[in-house]
């Protein structure tokens, strides 16, 4: 029985038993529901075995939304625990598991699949293709991601979750210091999902480079497609590093190899390096598509061509190159000398330059535009100033000597949430709202959407701004509690209040989906936003083959220019 003991929950609590029961009941309910409505055949034929890029995209997004709520519950638990000093809601071990799964779930199983979902739906349409290059491989990618995500998620009821942080540093993550099977889940589940991502990378590079509509040369591609192309190049070169790192971790933990050990010649710092050689490009994998989404939305609702097309492309290429040579900024304090720190400090600060170019381009696009304040546009407008705060604090962190003070404090936590939430999360929510009518044939309610926008934006700032202050005052990250005398109490309580605001905002999004599905008008045009690129040129709902006639393209804003010349891409009699 020893073997099976490893899979018992090492740290049981009423909450975990309750979740076990809840998971069991939900599964029974889902199975019973599908059987009752006789939907098994439909589900199997139309969804589970589909190779259509649009449906695969929708499944990615559904899974990502589920994971958003899983990760969101983790976040609420952390904020509740730290809301008051010396709180006993979670103990240290639970808190460790919660912040670890929160990080992994949000980055790898929420942000990534949400982006990959949008890219699946939109990219082939934007380039006038009928599907991706390898549709079946695309389905394999999805199912690898999905199985990886599910494997990771069952960890907390079967054997215990990983507890060494999403960065899983050695020696903490070694068998000596993390005895439970938790960290094995980390190594294996992420590996499975990661291979799916790598295959997606290959698939979309081939699709974009080889399957564009006639006339669409590279410098006529829509900006979202450009961002996806560059992102996939980063995926193809960064993910193999993660594959190797996780394989070595698996072997260290399961087969007794010595890669990251402290004795027998191993090097724990090797893990930190491998992890961040993948990890830093990874943060750009989730931000570049967001930049692409904002570029589409801002030019659509400013009713102007995107300002500085060429410099947008060049800056993305620059960012993607730089993203591979900055990784050591994540461990300035771990003892590489002044020379190494200095070099990485400079390369890191250099990233701010192309990023700044992009910010100015968006501002110039807005300048003198006839701005329409739709929900996607509101997210895009809020993104610019909030993300800039994230970028500026990034440059503060980039100064190696100053980072000795900021590193591993709440200041760092505030920084990366200030880039990731207004960057990636706002972008996927904006993109989701923007492309929703193309996917489903009706619009989401603008009114409910605006309520959730305000809850999310205000809630976000109330949650994370206080962390800049407590961080500068020395509050360490990943600590499950603090004493009253530190004085961190009130600001942490404020963070908790903000987190509730955020939660309400996300709940409103779900309500919006429900409400609009029931009541929204089905009578919309193929182009309800008066948009600019080819995905709006085809019918809603999109036929399985996307375009009856493959469109010919002669400008960067192909559909917009065609509309102005009163050409009709749908003119098939």
């Amino acid at each position: 029985m020893d073997y099976f003991d490893r899979f018992a929950v090492p740290h049981p609590s009423p909450a975990i038993y309750a979740s076990m029961v809840a998971i069991g009941l939900t599964m029974i309910a889902v199975v019973a529901g599908i059987t009752y409505f006789k939907k098994w055949g439909y589900l199997w034929r139309e969804w589970l075995t589909t190779v259509d890029h649009k449906r695969i995209g929708i499944m990615y997004i559904l899974a990502a939304l589920l994971m958003l709520f899983r990760g969101g519950v983790d976040a609420l638990m952390m904020r509740a625990q730290t809301a008051i000093p010396d709180n006993g809601l979670l103990d240290g071990q639970h808190y460790n598991e919660v912040f670890t799964t929160h990080g992994v779930v949000m980055i790898l199983f929420m942000a990534m699949p949400f982006i990959i979902g949008l890219m699946n739906i939109v990219t082939p349409l934007q380039i006038g293709a009928r599907d991706v290059a390898f549709p079946r491989l695309n389905a394999v990618s999805f199912w690898l991601f999905f199985m990886g995500a599910m494997l990771f998620n069952i960890s907390f009821v079967v054997g215990g979750s990983p507890d060494a942080g999403w960065t899983s540093y050695f020696p903490l993550a070694s068998n000596d210091f993390s005895e439970s099977v938790g960290s094995n889940y980390y190594a294996i589940a992420i590996q499975i999902a990661g291979i799916g991502t790598l295959l997606t990378g290959i698939n979309f590079i081939v699709t974009i480079l080889k399957m564009r509509a006639p006339g669409m040369n590279l410098m006529k591609m829509p900006m979202f497609t450009w961002s996806i192309l560059i992102t996939n190049f980063i995926i193809v070169f960064a993910f193999p590093v993660l594959t190797v790192a996780l394989a070595l971790m698996t072997m260290d933990r399961l087969f007794g190899t010595q890669f990251f050990t402290m004795a027998n010649g191993g090097s724990d710092m090797l893990w930190a390096n491998l992890f961040w050689v993948w990890g830093h490009p990874e943060v750009y994998i989730v931000i570049l598509p967001a930049f692409g989404i904002y570029s589409e939305i801002i030019s659509t609702f400013a009713r102007r061509n995107l300002y500085g097309y060429n410099s947008m492309v060049i800056s993305m290429v620059a960012i993607s190159t730089l993203s591979f040579i900055v990784w050591a900024h994540h461990f300035y304090t771990m003892g590489h000398g002044a020379m190494v720190n200095g070099i990485f400090s400079i390369t890191t600060m250099a990233i701010a330059v192309p990023t700044g170019v992009k910010i100015f381009n968006w501002l110039f696009t807005l300048w003198k535009g006839k701005i329409v304040f739709t929900v996607p546009m509101l997210y895009s407008l809020a993104f610019i100033p909030i993300f800039t705060l994230g970028g500026v604090t990034g440059v503060m962190l980039a100064m190696a000597s100053a980072d000795y003070q900021y590193h591993n404090t709440m200041f760092l936590v505030a920084h990366f949430h200030y880039v990731l939430i207004p960057g990636t999360v706002f972008a996927v929510l904006a993109g989701f709202t923007y492309w929703w009518p193309k996917m489903f044939g009706f619009m989401l309610s603008e009114k409910i959407g605006k309520w959730s926008f305000w809850f999310i934006t205000i809630g976000f700032n109330v949650t994370f701004f206080p962390m800049f202050i407590t961080g500068l005052d020395g509050q360490a990250r990943r600590m499950y509690t603090y004493s009253e005398s530190t004085g961190y109490g009130p600001l942490n309580m404020l963070s908790f209040v903000g987190a509730i605001g955020l939660a309400i905002g996300f709940a409103l999004i779900v309500y919006n989906i429900y409400w609009s599905t029931r009541y929204a008008s089905r009578n919309i045009s193929n182009d309800p936003w008066d948009a600019r690129s080819l995905e709006w040129a085809t019918h809603t709902p999109i036929p399985e083959y996307n375009f009856a006639i493959v469109p010919t393209v002669d400008s960067t804003e192909a559909f917009w220019d065609a509309k102005k010349k009163a050409l009709n891409y749908l003119a098939v009699k």
Binding site: M251, T257, G265
Partner: protein
Amino acid sequence: MKIDNSLPLEYSTEENRLKIFGFWIFLGAEIALFATLFATYFVLVDGTGNGPTGEHLFKLPTLMFQTIFLLTSSFTIGLGINAMRLGRQKATIGFFIITLILGLGFLGVEIYEFVEYVHEGATIQTSAFLSSLFTLLGTHGAHVTLGLFWEPSSSCRSKSAV
């Protein structure tokens, strides 16, 4: 299916062109993968702990055999592809079989070498140097093994499609 006869055989359909291009991108990823494994090896090469060092382990003859087998097999598979483009079925199959034998030879020597190492007390668990050595060589060996199965299976498939 549209077949363009002006191109080499394997490029003559759109589907194949996409697949070959996709495979080049995949090779890019493989380069990143092996670069990471090599980097790991070079970082850990002095991490011999209480185990043997490279000087103790590496022997020239096995190394020579492996290199000769491997390089020759790259050459013979090239000849095989060339014969295929010329439409000479027998020659194609012949070269492919020679390639497979060379691949098997390489694997045989590699396995022999691994067994020798283990007998000398150098296992994958002994030291970081050996962990990285076995992993690097083993990953490469796994690629060769996969090729040994993939080559005949795709040959048979294209034969039954003719």
